[in-house]
Symmetry: C2
Subunit: 374 residues, 2 copies
Amino acid sequence: MERSMENEELSKAFVQSFAMKGGDGPHSYAQNSSIQRLAIEAAKNLLHCAISNHFDPNAISSSSSTSPISIVDLGCSTGPNTFIAIQYIIEAIQTQYQSHNLPTPEFQVFFNDQVSNDFNTLFQKLPPNRNYFASGVPGSFHGRLFPRQSLHLIHSSSSLSWVSKLPKEIIRDGSCGAWNKGRIHYAGAPREVVDVYEEHYKKSLEAFLHARAEEIVRNGIMALQIPASQDHVIDDGNDEKLYPGRDLELLGSCLVDMAKLGLVSEEKVDSFNIPMFFPQLKELKKLLLSNEDFSIEQMELLDGKFLSVGNVEMYVSHHRAALEALIEKHFGEGVADELFSRYAKKVLEFPEIMDMQNLKIVLLFVLLKPKLHA
Amino acid sequence: MERSMENEELSKAFVQSFAMKGGDGPHSYAQNSSIQRLAIEAAKNLLHCAISNHFDPNAISSSSSTSPISIVDLGCSTGPNTFIAIQYIIEAIQTQYQSHNLPTPEFQVFFNDQVSNDFNTLFQKLPPNRNYFASGVPGSFHGRLFPRQSLHLIHSSSSLSWVSKLPKEIIRDGSCGAWNKGRIHYAGAPREVVDVYEEHYKKSLEAFLHARAEEIVRNGIMALQIPASQDHVIDDGNDEKLYPGRDLELLGSCLVDMAKLGLVSEEKVDSFNIPMFFPQLKELKKLLLSNEDFSIEQMELLDGKFLSVGNVEMYVSHHRAALEALIEKHFGEGVADELFSRYAKKVLEFPEIMDMQNLKIVLLFVLLKPKLHA
């Protein structure tokens, strides 16, 4: 009960929302999401096996043979990656029904992202010959989005490092020493700042799992691909040149430079924090294994080859697509051109950051099933 | 079977989509929909009684007490009217559950409109303290939008005069004499044009009902408010000064004037037709009563007091909100200012058209239940 109230408060705090760059322009997510695409391709076979081993058509369709199968992609952005993931999922489920000699059900697919996501672009890009009924669901996945026991398969790829709105001690001078002055991320920050981020990540993940546990049907499955950092790099990070968030730290240094030149206000830089966290892999596994709502059926690291981007332009575009909306909401419109042009120059000085493997970032594939409480 | 195929072809033809003016600006639907709001207010009591008499919680929730109630508003536009209608519906259903001493279910509400509708604005305007899970569904309501037997209550207010894409004979010189040259609507047009519109309306309505019959649960209900024209006005219309569509005819004359001045191309005017039809009331009732999919539980004319707009500016804004997107899609961006400024002058010459009752337009409230086929 206490935990439930805490989650509720947490989800109330997540009013402010963050989403990828909308539209279809040169800086849009739609045009700059090939890394995420490769992550989905890397997970394809795991997803197929997971559905084959754990999605039981007889158990799922027990209520009625005409019942549709409900699928959600959480943190879908504007496509096309979400459409590819959904296609793989539906193909795998159809195979399951065929192998059980059962008629193929109808599919209802929910595409979820923050309220500020560009759903107009998403809807215009829906595959014209899709074999499912499509629906957009706006809102933070750290709170409830769906009725009780209404989802059969929950999917989320690479979105769970977003923790939404951070607690206030990060953005103001207080007694706990967690004010993240002169930085926009916990990377390279004092231990107190990292601790606040880490604690907030735990609460976010718990709130996420608890909300999903209410929404998933008894025999449903949840497949997540969660970004994490290789073990020990949070502790040792400050001694090395490369660690998770080093790219965001570099972006922050561009903003600090711009503040020195009066192009943005110093106060705005001090109060800006990218709500993204990469837990240590062993910590993430511990969090997942100790959660009360889901049992872990499978955990596997994805092959990391997809985590590298070939050239600076593409790399900067990826970051811009993911962060421009968030940055312009905080700093006002018009700072992105200058910022990302400066960022491109810094990336050229540190080309090794373009490979996320160098940054010690990994992607954990997890398959979960709801625990059946008495 | 034949009919089903015809419906499928019809729904394939409805690819081109029409929607209200998005955003929140001075010409947006969100700021110019007070007539539609009044229609919803006028229907409030009828809706409440209909739910009280025909929405049976015991029959609806037979599958499971945790099952959510699914509601859709078809042709929702960008709000706020759709939120008001949904609120009335949910309040009435909650009252039903209370009076049956049953626990209140969770509600899942689907907001549907054309793909080109501004769902981003709709989502940003969702009531923050709503007691339902919200979802947007893009697509034409003349085709399937939802899985089989998945909706408990279907609602649509004032949207069913839209018939989506008209057949080709209307926009080109052919043998049947139905080319609607020099006009943008059937009002004031030769019999052949009216016939094509009317036939297309019948097919559209049939396709609509057939799709909904597949989507509604066995004991679900559908409440529609359908615009119609008072009897006989189609036949006698050309002899009178005021008849349904007279406002659109006047708007068309502005476009013809603009074509004469070279401000728009004559060919564009000749190929533009507003996909909106107001059936004669007796014809509409006949169509509804003879349909194979739904039984008619209640038909009632709404009190017409809401059909009048006080001043020219507001009247023109209403038309602009409804038609600007459609017009600019056909004629290109930038014609709306000139067109609606000319329209305002013409309306001043014929102020009587500002009262839709003068145009002999009425709104029919209909309550339908799916026929139970063997």
